[in-house]
Amino acid sequence: MSNAAERSDLGEIRIANEVVSIVAGLAATEVEGVAGMSGGIASGVAEMLGRKNLSKGVRVEVGEEQAAVDLSIIVDYGVRIPEVAWKIQENVKRAVESMTGLQVVEVNVHVQGVHFAQAEEQPEDPRVK
């Protein structure tokens, strides 16, 4: 089952899993505090070859009317992880529901890593100014 099907009077509407993945991925990365998505080795290799993968780190399960989303993310250093995760859940649910009409039953967020910005690394209290 790779598509969500919807019956209307005029015929069937199908939404590919890939579409749901991309919508979810974009909605997750636009949340403040998210440094990026975390894909596996396969998407790492694909990225090295120059293919931008919009559904990286996203796994979806799409049924007739419902969808479940699993996200693997990397957060920025300094953010409160639970707050960011909750924001992601809300944002992804809203985006997927409004764009595809599917009911999102759950959004599981898995924080895989923390991204440290190089510029922010300052010594505690330098002895010499």
């Binding site: 953010v79 909750w86 959004v107 895989q112």
Partner: protein, 176 residues
């Protein structure tokens, strides 16, 4: 990246092992090895079989290792209304190291994390400089790591053990 290299090495070893075994078995479908087969017919057959077996075993072992490495060290589950939220221990590990090594007097830190009854346990091993008294430093490490992890990850920290591995000779560079 490590995993990738291991998997590659495993596949190479496996391929070599299978090739050597097939040579020993007398199968000469391997075109590039026809010359070797000619040489290997006879006395060298046993050696070829043994080498093949060894290489195949190494390949299988390395593959198993690569597969094992792929599993995460573990996760911490957080409550979430719309679905599960989990944080990999590797992410928490980097937070702990960041918090510990930003303290004055800590030169290097390594850590191992665990979970006991829903609480996070942290074992830290630090290399300190001699510019501060160790007890004071250790206490600060415990406080800061506890606070930092609770703030950022939102899970209670059960205990933070600090082991001072060594005292670094020489001072930290005074000017960065």
């Amino acid at each position: 990246m490590d995993r990738f290299v291991i998997a590659l090495a495993a596949l190479l070893a496996l391929a070599f092992g299978v090739a050597a075994l097939s040579l020993a078995a007398g199968w000469n479908g391997v075109l590039w090895a026809v010359d070797v087969i000619m040489a290997a017919r006879g006395a060298a057959r046993l050696e070829s079989a043994l080498t093949g077996l060894l290489a195949a075993a190494v390949g299988v072992y390395l593959l198993a290792l690569a597969g094992q490495r792929e599993t995460e060290p573990g996760n911490i589950a957080l409550p979430g209304e719309l679905g599960d939220v989990s944080v990999s221990l590797r992410a928490v590990e980097s937070l702990v190291l960041q918090a510990a090594s930003s303290i004055r007097g800590v030169r290097e830190a390594t850590t191992r994390l665990g979970q006991e009854e829903g609480r996070l346990t942290v074992d830290l091993s630090v290399l300190v400089t001699s510019e501060r008294p160790v007890p004071e430093l250790a206490a600060e490490v415990q406080q800061r790591v506890t606070r930092h992890v609770q703030d950022v990850v939102g899970v209670p920290v059960g205990r933070v053990s600090v082991a001072v591995r060594n005292i670094a000779s020489g001072h930290k560079a005074r000017v960065e």
